[in-house]
């Protein structure tokens, strides 16, 4: 038994051991002729305790008891302190958890270090999807990849009620390469689930639970997908996330896709949008080697099929270990997150500082008590320890509540943001480690700094004057003013950023998207899946258009290639306007009327316009490229014209609503666009009346199961993310404001209480109320002013750095600054004046008599 174990054993049995010792000593005493020579039993017991080395623990427990008792006597202080700390710690943990789930933690997949997603790259452009035939050519080459597998998202309808659900078509080896295991039945397997075998599906755990009523006999059941029978062979495990957070309800085998979408050319078409491609590296192969091999493969394909594969293309791997993200994108996001992390840490420091200030105020009020302790022989380290341990309950409670808060907040954000159930926010070891670290930092700020500060004072002198001098010293202490300045700085910064975010959201929400979305609806039949060619598509659309047009509710309609507020984005950069992302769309002449995008100069398309040689550009693009909107008739793009500008239209953000640096470009619809095209219709009244009209018109081909959605719904779902971010920012901003005001209030009011005698004399001698207020408030003016200046000055650069990540911010927004400052100054003035007014309205004689 080592010494330490023996000591711990003793500690655990201490009361029994000590009873025994007392009994033993008493026996000894009674046996003596002269018991007085034995000594004081109590003192000897104390020395015996010393021998076991547990006295420090007793002292600590005693301090803790004292602290808890003190907190219970001041419940308002305790609750405020705990809430402030819980908020500070909770905010940090929430951000950390969201970031770690979304970005930092690699997906829970088998061997992520050899797994990559591929993007198709050309010198000036990139696409995330790759035509299926190309992926099959890559799959046959085994030199750098041991396996290639693909996935393609699609909406299907399920059951007799034709409910739309998200589906993912995957290669048969998809599950095994990702290392998934089923919770029931089996998953797809190569060689078993082939194009010709019976169509099968794997359903998600969530789907099985909610839609199949957790039916234990679900495996083997036949369900209808797109009105075709499909056998369920398995249920995914609850934890399985797939390759990203967009989880389908059902997985289907891509080789069997034509069973669900007959005549779909996806698997044969070299020019289609294609599929997401993943590959498993052979052991020890570097991404660079894979990239070079892909370049060679694509060059060979270019020789073979120059129409489908242009020269100079390659496939770029992005590793699973970095969440399949492009290194540049990831760096941007990590930078934005680090800044957010720094901000939330700042909020925590502000919060802790505030509690620290409160503790300091309380401690300085107790200088007489501490003075007595010093006089009785307590060392300064003992005083610091006492003050620190007294704050321990605050820190512990704050941390515990913070962890709960973070769990709740992450779960709420996940639920609102539509994250799949499989995403777990249960705190892992890293979360716990981080919360512990945060608590220690907090404890140091709220406990150690004020304690050290108090203990440095001449505490014994406090006994003589009742702590007057020390109180005044502490009240004027530089540290206290610095702490308050820091918290003012932090809360101003957060407030300005929150104002920027809110303003950005407001801009998105207020209808300056440049087009009308409230009364519009979209019909997406997906003709390609049903084997339509260009000619049949045009005929189909003509029928549908005339059927829709006949309806009295329909005010305007147009066909376009990319759906407004939809996901399909094709963007280009022009050397003539390098800072602008240009998003292009192919549209019918009536598009601008339907979308209510004003034609500013020139005209819309006409029947004679060559689809490859005429463009309509938006105002921002005209200004960026030519410096003037008056560009009708000029060549486009400016330096190497391939087309003529026939019109300039108002700025619309029809495709990507969040981005401030985008512009749109329109070309006439080509014959080959009709297969993938969509129809936009605008109603005279409520857009909801359009849905049955569009569905009915689309049913001119009874096989087609069209997607119909209202633009206002798409808009709402598109702004959810920004809305959440903004809500978080605003609540954070308001809470930090509240904390800062509490801090100001606390400092001023405590200062006023401590110096009540001094103010009493001033008032008794007939000082003006305003001069007394000045006296009370004077000490905080400079720290507040400097803190505000620094906070506001930092907001610009930090906002700039945040933009370009996932958050869009308009930094140069005077209204945001002005609003935030006004709010802050007003609140600060109230917080500072409230205690000052209490001083001048109180009875000075009363104060003098009682101090």
């Amino acid at each position: 038994m080592t010494t330490w174990l023996r000591r711990i054993w003793h500690l655990l049995n201490r009361s029994r051991r000590e009873r025994e010792l007392v009994r033993e000593m008493n026996e000894h005493r009674e046996s003596m002729h002269d018991p007085s020579r034995f000594g004081d039993t109590h003192r000897l017991l104390e020395y015996s305790r010393d021998a076991w080395g547990w006295n420090w623990l007793d002292d600590a427990l005693q301090d803790l008891r004292l602290g808890v008792r003190g907190l219970m006597r001041a419940p308002a202080f305790a609750i405020t302190g705990v809430l402030i700390l819980a908020f500070g710690i909770g905010l940090n943990l929430t951000l950390y958890q969201m970031a770690s789930v979304g970005l930092l933690r690699p997906p829970a997949l088998k061997d992520p270090e050899t797994l990559a997603r591929f993007r198709r790259m050309a010198p000036n452009s990139s696409t995330t999807t790759i035509p299926y035939p190309i992926t099959q050519v890559v799959a046959e080459d085994r030199s750098v990849l041991t396996a290639v597998f693909v996935e393609a998202f699609a909406g299907v309808v399920w059951g007799k009620d034709l409910v739309h659900i998200p589906a993912l078509f995957v290669s048969p080896n998809w599950f095994s390469e990702l290392g998934a295991t089923p919770s029931a039945g089996r998953l797809f397997a190569e060689g078993i689930d082939t194009a010709t075998s019976e169509p099968v599906a794997v359903v998600s755990h969530q789907f099985w639970r909610t839609q199949l009523a957790a039916d234990p006999g679900a495996v083997g059941r036949t369900i209808d997908v797109n009105r075709k029978p499909v056998t369920v062979i398995g249920v995914s495990s609850r934890e399985f996330t797939g390759t990203d957070l967009n989880q389908p309800h059902i997985w289907l085998v891509i080789n069997q896709r034509e069973h669900i979408f007959p005549d779909s050319p996806l698997l044969r078409d070299w020019n289609s949008d294609g599929v997401d491609m993943y590959g498993r590296f052979t052991q020890g192969t570097s991404p660079a080697a894979v990239r070079e091999r892909m370049r060679a493969l694509m060059a060979a394909l270019h020789e073979e099929r120059p129409d489908a594969v242009p020269a100079d293309e390659w496939l770029e791997p992005a590793m699973a270990t970095v969440n399949f993200m492009d290194p540049g994108d990831r760096r941007g996001i990590v930078t934005a997150l680090s800044i957010l992390g720094a901000l939330t840490t700042l909020v925590l420091v502000v919060a802790a500082t505030n509690v620290g200030n409160l503790v300091l105020s309380r401690a300085s009020g107790r200088s007489r008590e501490l003075g007595v302790r010093v006089a009785l022989g307590a060392k300064r380290s003992r005083i610091v320890r006492q003050l620190m341990i007294e704050t321990l309950p605050l820190a512990i409670l704050g941390a515990a509540l913070g962890v709960m808060l973070a769990r709740w907040a992450s779960a709420t954000i996940a639920a609102v943001g539509g994250m799949p159930e499989s995403v777990s926010f249960a705190p892992d070891w890293s979360t716990i480690a981080i919360s512990l670290m945060l608590s220690v930092v907090t404890l140091l700020v709220i406990g150690a700094v004020p304690a050290w500060r108090v203990a440095r004072q001449e505490l014994i002198a406090a006994i003589k004057d009742g702590g007057q001098q020390i109180s005044i010293n502490l009240d004027r202490a530089r540290l206290r003013r610095f702490m308050m300045g820091a918290q003012v700085c932090g809360s101003c910064l957060v407030l300005v950023l929150a104002a920027m975010m809110t303003r950005t959201l407001q801009r998105v929400l207020s209808n300056d998207l440049g087009f009308e979305y409230e009364r519009a609806a979209i019909l997406q039949p997906g003709l390609g899946r049903y084997g339509y060619d260009d000619e049949r598509s045009i005929a189909y659309w003509n029928t549908v258009k005339s059927r829709v047009d006949q309806h009295p509710e329909v005010a305007a309609l147009s066909i376009a290639l990319a759906p407004p507020l939809g996901g399909r984005i094709s963007e280009t950069h022009f050397n003539d306007a390098p800072r602008l992302e240009v998003i292009s769309n192919h549209v019918e002449p009536a598009f601008f009327t339907t979308m209510e995008i004003p034609v500013l100069l020139g005209r819309t398309f006409g029947p004679g316009d060559d689809p490859n040689a005429s463009v309509i550009i938006s105002r921002t693009l005209a200004l960026a490229m030519y410096g003037s909107p008056d560009v009708v008739g000029r060549g486009f793009p400016r330096s190497e014209p391939t087309a003529t500008i026939i019109g300039v239209v108002g700025d619309a953000h029809s495709i990507r609503i969040e981005s401030a640096y985008t512009s749109e470009l329109y070309r006439p619809l080509r014959n080959e666009d009709y297969v993938d095209a969509i129809l936009i219709a605008r109603s005279r009244g409520d857009a909801a009346t359009l849905a049955p009209v569009l569905r009915e018109a689309a049913a001119t081909d009874s096989r087609i199961l069209p997607g119909v959605n209202l633009l206002r719904d798409s808009f709402q779902s598109r702004v959810t993310g920004t809305r959440i971010a903004s809500a978080i920012a605003v609540s954070t901003g308001l809470l930090t404001l509240l904390i800062a005001c509490l801090g100001i209030f606390g400092v001023v009011s405590y200062g006023a209480t401590l110096r009540v005698k001094e103010f009493g004399i001033h008032i008794a001698l007939g000082a003006e109320a305003s001069s007394v207020v000045r006296l009370v408030v004077r000490q905080i003016v400079w720290p507040v002013a400097i803190g505000m200046t620094l906070g506001v000055a930092a907001a610009g650069p930090i906002g700039m750095a945040l933009t370009g990540g996932p958050i869009q911010l308009q930094v140069a927004d005077p209204a945001a600054y002005a609003g935030a400052l006004l709010l802050f100054v007003t609140s600060a003035v109230f917080a500072a004046l409230a205690p000052a007014i209490r001083v001048i309205t109180s009875d000075p004689v009363h104060a003098l008599r009682h101090s």
Binding site: L21, M25, E27, H28
Partner: protein, 109 residues
């Protein structure tokens, strides 16, 4: 640690270990033995024995067991452990060295 009148500092434990070396003794008996062996020269506050005993227990030099004494009373007998014997040896050596050194100084001149 209490001051033990008449004892050089740190020697109490040495004496206790030496006294219980031949066989287990209880607290009162230890005090008696020390007084006896020193022919009443070393007078200590007897209670100060107990903190020293606790220190020896904490360090694992002694072990204690309850037993019934010859007079029929419940007493706690202390016995020295192997670790205690080693400690006794060290302390004895240390003490011897110190005593020799002091003696050498006193016998000079």
């Amino acid at each position: 640690m209490p001051k033990t009148a008449g004892l050089p500092p740190g020697t109490l434990i040495l004496l206790i270990l030496r006294v219980v070396q031949p066989g287990p003794l209880h607290g009162y008996a230890i005090a008696q033995r020390i007084r006896q062996l020193s022919s009443d020269q070393l007078s200590v506050e007897e209670g100060s024995l107990y903190p020293a005993l606790q220190k020896a227990l904490a360090n694992g030099w002694l072990r204690a067991d309850w037993a019934t004494s010859d007079t029929g009373r419940q007493v706690r007998n202390y016995r020295v452990t192997t670790k205690g014997l080693k400690q006794l040896e060290t302390e004895q050596d240390d003490y011897q060295r110190m005593a020799d050194a002091i003696a050498a100084i006193l016998e000079s001149t």
